[in-house]
Symmetry: C2
Subunit: 200 residues, 2 copies
Amino acid sequence: MTHKRSILFWFDFASTYSYPAAMRIATLADSSNIQVIWRPFLLGAIFQQQGWNDSPFNIYPAKGAYMWRDMARLCMRENLDFKRPTVFPRNGLMASRIVCANHNELWIPAFVRHVFQANFKYDLNIADLDVITKILNDLDLDADKILNQIKQQEIKNLLRQQTDEAIQSGVFGAPSFIVEGELFWGNDQLEHALDWCIDH
Amino acid sequence: MTHKRSILFWFDFASTYSYPAAMRIATLADSSNIQVIWRPFLLGAIFQQQGWNDSPFNIYPAKGAYMWRDMARLCMRENLDFKRPTVFPRNGLMASRIVCANHNELWIPAFVRHVFQANFKYDLNIADLDVITKILNDLDLDADKILNQIKQQEIKNLLRQQTDEAIQSGVFGAPSFIVEGELFWGNDQLEHALDWCIDH
C-alpha cells in the first residue's frame, strides 16, 4: 500500500501534550491512509530563543498548574494511563537521536510510544541508558548497535538540523503537525490537521 | 425555566480566541440548559504579572503568525466572519465596564457578541465612544445612561476586582471557562467544559 499523503509530526519527548498525540496519531492517520513522518526536535532550543531557560510550565505557575490538571483530564478522556513525572522536563536527547538515525525503520512508531510511556506512564528517566536499552530490547532490536550509532557526530548534527527545520517551518511548541505547509499546534489540533490532509 | 448548572465564561474583548468562544457559548450552553455567567476581565493585567507589556502574540512572532492563521481556519470551520484587526490588541476597557455594570441584564450576551464582531469582523476600534454608542443604540438601549454609569468609581473597581478574581481562580489566558471549580482554557475547550458541567 502506498501512502500519498503525509503528516509531519513534530514532537519532543519531554513535552507533556506530545504524549497523547504520539499515542493517538498512528491509528488515526492509518485509518485515513496518511503516512506519519516522525520528527523529534529539541523544544528547549526554541524556548531559549524566546528567552526561557526552562519549560514555560515551570516558569509560569498558573499555566503549569493548569497543564497538569488538563493532562490528567484529557488522558482520562482518551483512556491513556498518565502519571505526573517526578522530574519535568526530562531530557529526551538520546531517544530523539535514535529516532533521527532510524527514521525510516518500521519500529520507530512503537519506539516513540514506548519512550513516551516511560516518561508519562511509568515515571522513568528517559535519559537513562538502562531505560532506553530496555525499550530497545523489548522491541527485539540490537540495542548495542543502535546506541553506538547515535554517538556519531553526523547523528547529533541531524537532530540539530531537524530542530532548525522546525523553527524555519514556524514551529514554536510541541506537538506540532504540518500538512501541505499548514502548521497545527497542540494535541487537540491533531484531528484538524488530519482533516486538512484529507481535504487538500 | 430555572438553570441549575452554570459556566463562568472569562473573556477579554481584545482576545482573538475569545471571539469564537463568545459567538458559540450561548447556543451551546442553552441547548444543555446551562447558564452562562459572562465575566470580562483585563488580560493585560495578567500579562503584566508575567512580565509582558504586550500580547504574547506580538512578543513572540512565530506564535503570533500561527495564531492569525489558526483564527482564520477556525472561523472558517465555525462559519464565523473574521477580519484580522488592523490594531491588536484593542482596548476593551469601556465595553468590559459596561458588562460589569449590567451583568444581570438580558441584553448582555448580545452586547458581548456585537463588541466582539466590531473588533474581529468589522475591524472597528472598540475603545471608540461612537462605536460602543452605536452598538447600544442598535440594541435599543439607553446609551447615555449606560455610558454615564460606567464613569462611577464603583464600576471601575468592579472590573479590577473581577480581574483579581480571575487570577485567584487560576485564569492565565482567555477565553477561560470555570465549571464547578474546574478550569478550562481556550476556545477549543468549550465543549469539554460544557461536558464537564453535564457530567458533574
